[in-house]
Amino acid sequence: MSILVIAEHDNRTLKGATLNTITAAAAIGADIHVLVAGSGCSAVAEAVSSINGVIRVLLADAPHLDALLAEDLAKLVTQLAGGYSHVLAPATAFGKNFLPRVAALLDVAQISDVVAVESANTFVRPIYAGNALATVSSDDPVKVLSVRATAFEGAVGGGGSAPITPITAPAGFARTRCVSRELATSERPELAGAKVIVSGGRGLGSKENYDAVLEPLADALGAALGASRAAVDAGFAPNDYQVGQTGKIVAPQLYVAVGISGAIQHLAGMKDSKVIVAINKDPEAPIFQVADYGVVGDLFTLVPELVSNLK
């Protein structure tokens, strides 16, 4: 029983969610292989080879894998999948994009957002915005699982030295082309794996306020920034800041919700945080039902006060 984990990376560095996915794989079995597919990504393969628990690294390094289109990655993974009992990827925008394609090509079900491994064929996953947890089992010959990173610790690096085996990727899919990418870089920690998150909602009122009020707090706490859907829709924050059922799932040590009401869909993305702080002027806001500490009042005075108190 060998397990194939698909690494998420940007051709230079490995994304943290891969480490949590490797831990989920280790809960299933010991023979863990990791596929690093991309272009000019050998440094990523080397980083993966040192992760504890990884037995072998497969490196598919080819110019046409630069954009890592779902069409191309799914074809490659499907070719490899016959040798494995399980194929795992992180349940991130990356994993969600290509993994169902793999499952369909293999004619097997996919189990999305796995939060616990009960056995090699039985898994737990949240449904209905996390308001229910379903235990499901699969008899398919290959189990295709996307893994919710916040439910598993990250595998640690350093100890291992797994061999790196170069493999050849099939020819590229000719009918889809990546035209452009606009990617922002930030000095702040990555939202998905951050220890502290400061998140803003509609209560901020504008992008200018979002930046002026929340950035000093994020600086003071060394935090990543997040947002509610309402704040993203209104253009206060970029789309990949959205925390929730249909955005990013996070579980930091500390989550500070500022001007966020606490809709079901938002709670679905952050209610597993260790400590939740809510700042809201409405004492009835549902966010207070999940917050460990709440402050009722105007965020425009409370947040600057919090910043100066932290200094």
Binding site: V108, S112, N131, Y293
Partner: protein, 249 residues
């Protein structure tokens, strides 16, 4: 050019799901149902493409129980031209739905399929990608902008870190994200008109698709609930709690 839009009947997004006492699933008796919000966005996008003159026909499809006809009527009221119900009482999982849609695409030959990125009940986020695989066509998930040009679609996608634009040769599958558009409300005249639009009914057997579930649900439970904490009087108390009690700063 024809666009196919699959729509799913799900729990209304304002309703909090309750787990059945016997752990067999979620209680949907007497619960308000509605079109999956992402599918509404998909219908809206298809209708806008039609209004812009780049699409000639919008066909809505729903797979499931007879009550899915209501969801199809809602799609027709938003501007879809006709609808197909693939009627079955079997619990449909994403792979089965993708196979039904594939079989329907083989009959209808749409140039584009626009799906919601995820259904808010099972939260799987699979069907569009699976359909694209079965059709062996290109896919653009999590779309925030769609432009049709000749035989291709330019689609901007919401990805980690920002946006990515793909050019897809048609036919192709697109899945919608929240920022693609804001769906209109159906007007009363359009709701009346929708009652006269045709809904064809098919069965999985007529489409030659085995829809038997692959995954077995062993149990469904409520997640551990969080207890509400403390409302602190001021920021100084908050900071002290975070330092001394929670020890997170």
């Amino acid at each position: 050019m024809k666009v196919l839009v699959p729509v799913k009947r799900v729990i209304d997004y304002n309703v909090k799901a309750r787990v059945k006492a016997d752990g067999s699933g979620v209680d949907l008796d007497n619960v308000k149902m509605a079109m999956n919000p992402f599918d509404e966005i998909a219908v809206e996008e298809a209708v806008r493409l039609k209004e812009a003159g780049s699409v000639s026909e919008v066909v809505a499809v729903s797979c499931g129980v007879a009550a899915c006809q209501e969801t199809l009527r809602a799609a027709l009221a938003l501007g879809a031209d006709r609808a197909v119900l693939v009627n079955t009482d079997v619990e449909l999982q994403p792979l089965a739905v993708a196979k039904l849609l594939k079989a329907l695409c083989d009959r209808e030959l749409p140039s584009l399929v626009i799906c919601g990125k995820q259904a808010i009940d099972d939260d799987s986020n699979q069907t569009g990608q699976m359909l694209a695989a079965l059709l062996d066509c290109g896919q653009a998930t999590f779309a925030s902008k769609v432009k049709l040009e000749g035989g291709s679609a330019m689609v901007t996608r919401e990805v980690d870190g920002g946006l990515e634009t793909l050019s897809l040769e048609l036919p192709a599958v697109i899945t919608t994200d929240l920022r693609l558009n804001e769906p209109r409300y159906a007007t009363l005249p359009n709701i009346m008109k929708a009652k006269k639009k045709p809904i064809d009914t098919l069965t999985p057997a007529e489409l030659g698709v085995d829809v038997a579930p692959r995954l077995k649900t062993l149990k469904v439970v409520e997640p551990p609930t969080r207890q509400a904490g403390e409302i602190v009087p001021d920021i100084a108390t908050l900071v002290s709690r975070l330092k001394n009690q929670a020890k997170v700063i």
